[in-house]
Symmetry: D2
Subunit: 278 residues, 4 copies
């Protein structure tokens, strides 16, 4: 079990969401409320895009718990970004090492995941074999999460992200069913190319881990004209999170089961998500 | 808040108490039941004496959480000892670094602590100045716990341990009261010279953190003749712990408030503990 | 022995000096040419100020060797700064931990050091006692370097940096001589408040570790009109380094023995440095 | 480039060879003399068997440089073993993480390597595919060294070690040649099952990294009757090393090019090593 957060909008310091909230992501590393486990202390990572640039995103990943890593607080105070990911890890068994820590990066793409592929040990070899030759060497770790990323890349993530993830999930389920795994996949996933964020909520058993998106900023500002920190944020600013960062009524909305949310320039979208076979 | 464990008796593998129990110390690093906080993920340490030798104890200390440190499991499986300490840390503010991790060592002595000196920041300088010149350079970290050790050494820990700790506590309380700190100290402490373990339970407010000692082995074996793992243990085998390692009725006894337990060759002792002024 | 680098001028990515040079600081961590030891693998740190802001500087410090730390390369590529420090450490005996890693910070001030206080173990207690009460609690580590910083702060670093460092050195030498240490101090030091950099080169034996400053940019650009990377740099841009980052003839000038260089808005200065007694 | 050491004989403390020699392995981590690089600071590992037991070997592996890891010195002083491996790493490109650190373990077997598979990136996928299904899941890291171990296991290491390694090398060379890699492999390798050590020296170009074995103890003791530390060692005691641990004339002998040394109960052996095709 893990917790994650994806932000898109007016450039802000990372610490605004990672540190300076009652239920900031750092707080959730010790005291998650809605997760399978309260402690997410098996490392963390942040990935961020720069404002207005075409550079690849930058990563800071560590195997220490987020709550006691001083460098994380320093960087969160020093780095400003219009689009960033943050993730705190609770390992489901694979080694605690930076290469197993989210977000994962490929070119301009970031990827992070909460959940698991069930009986991954039995399925792993077959799944690895399906990764495209040209991508194989970029796999650095041993997690199911990273492998899902490289399968999605193999299935065309960079061209048609929703279809690619639907095909990835279809392939994992098919592989699982063939080897007798009942409910092969459980996931919330965030992916981004630096402009758009795709946030997926799905599980084979249709009982997926929690996922929320923040209410449109114009509506929120109209409702709470006195909350100062909202005034500086553009109407397009949006946060997607494993669990709400606070208690503000009306601020958080659940992503429905088997759906994908798309945070993008212009109107955001919420679409049904259906695994598909290749 | 922290959790700790001290063992004396028939040489056993460290993993017997650190890993292979329902409520092993590694389990307590994620899920302590009786502590101020459930998570003790700010590093850990073990210190062990060799069987029949006069060598100083050895230390393995790490800033990683005990639950995900592979080396700890390897060493706990590979090292056998007749007297060892183990400690899992929940920092009350000082830096997460090996030199702030328990047990602390000086010569043949080991020391570990659960609790705190209140308003340590205000008292620290005066306490540091009281440490003997010859000991000053051996202070490596910045914790209240290590400083208490060096104050106790200054007050004669190596000659008369109980009196030295009583004087240390008296001095900390006196210093605290003089600067307006109400309840200056909260502690359970274990100290050893490799033959005897002294286990202290005390707090200025007389509401100290939990501390337990195991029942005499002969009594326990008589009561539970069928528990195989007890049969190999000598009658003198004893464990002192922040919280019980299991549910066996009759196996665990609370150290009374303001007392010190002494685990030693021959009959063990339980004595009242009273801070004293120099 | 350590190596360090201080930059002031047109905002650049840290990687320009830390990574992308033949003799970048990361290269020097494995292959220093002019140092007492070729390997500086006992941790590293960077400290940087933001452009145009009044925020305190940010730190990233790690106990890993600079040459194999991926996060350092990520941050060096992602962070741009008009004034930054970087330091690679070769411990002279104190523990390898982040709190012993340069640069050190106090409020808006950064400090880093190459060299040592000789027989520090014998002098340490007396030096610690001279630190001002209000500063004492901010000492986090156990190095001579950090202690020199807090002594300089005690002696007025924030008001008159050159005099404060002269008094710090005078005090260390006096304390050393009184206890029979012949040549108590060896140092190159950089200090900054975010606007000015003070770079000191001094040792009791007048045979100090190497220190260089870069030639004025207008002169360098006139001499090398074809070097593209120079064209974007303001005339005031200046680098101070333990050893040159490359071979360009005329680019590097030695700071003379017992001198302090002052890199500041307007003309920079080079002044004699003389320890003084309180 | 890396350095390694394998010991078999009278049980000794690990520190005897890791710490207490002029050219101990810890010294070689900073100052290797015969290696491709003088610094081997990208982590280290030790693996040791217990005396007289059938337990699997234990591992302690870390990503810190051996020269500044305090835990290593503690364990080397505290652990005694009749057969142990130690390895210091200089990465040839793969990530610095414990799962990429030697020795590697599978059941009762240990394995460590100095050298590389050339153009590993291009060959990796095909080599991975050749690993037996039942072994695939035990691969935890991303190094060429670990993959060579699992290929050797696939080819029968546990039944006929020399043939299995000859087949592994033959397979790597065949795969390399087919994809246009000229000299696919460079290696010195140690493998053990806890009773015997196999030490291989081979490279496709027949210009292999250095490898030495110590002279028979009876001969050495006869020659140096006054060296006290030798007297306690059995005649069968033997050390195999990347480079000599000292200067004693007559003490060290080069393993010839393309040979395997077998250290075992009774007479040791030295045999030619010839890669073979499956």
């Amino acid at each position: 079990m893990c917790r994650w957060l994806a932000y898109s909008g007016t450039p802000i310091r990372l610490e605004e969401l990672l540190v300076k909230r009652d239920r900031s992501l750092i707080d959730q590393s010790l005291h998650a409320r809605q997760g399978a486990t309260p402690t997410n202390g098996d490392g963390f990572g942040v990935g961020w895009y720069e404002d207005g640039g075409d550079r690849p995103p930058r990563l800071y990943r560590s195997t220490h718990p987020a709550w006691n890593d001083r460098n994380l607080r320093e960087l969160a105070a020093g780095i400003e970004s219009p689009l960033f990911f943050a993730h705190i890890r609770a390992s489901t068994g694979t080694a605690i090492q930076e290469t197993n820590t989210h977000p994962f990066r490929y070119g301009r793409w970031l990827w992070m995941h909460n959940g698991l592929i069930r009986e991954f040990a039995r399925l792993r070899r077959e799944l690895v074999l399906a990764v495209d030759d040209s991508l194989f060497l970029s796999i650095e770790g041993t997690t199911d999460s990273e492998l899902m990323f490289f399968l999605a890349l193999t299935f065309g993530l960079q061209d048609d992200p929703v279809t690619a993830v639907e095909r990835m999930v279809g392939f994992v389920e098919q592989t699982g069913h063939r080897t007798g795994v009942d409910q092969p996949i459980q996931m919330t996933i965030a992916a981004s190319d630096g402009r758009t964020i795709w946030a997926f909520r799905y599980s084979s058993e249709h009982d997926s881990r929690s996922l929320y998106f923040s209410t449109r900023m114009d509506a929120l500002k109209a409702h709470y004209p006195d909350i100062e920190e909202l005034t500086g944020l553009s109407d397009e600013t949006r946060v997607v999170v494993s669990e709400p960062l606070g208690d503000l009524p009306g601020a958080w909305n659940e992503v429905p089961e088997s759906h994908v949310g798309i945070v993008q320039p212009g109107d955001d979208e919420l679409r049904p998500f259906t695994p598909r076979l290749a």
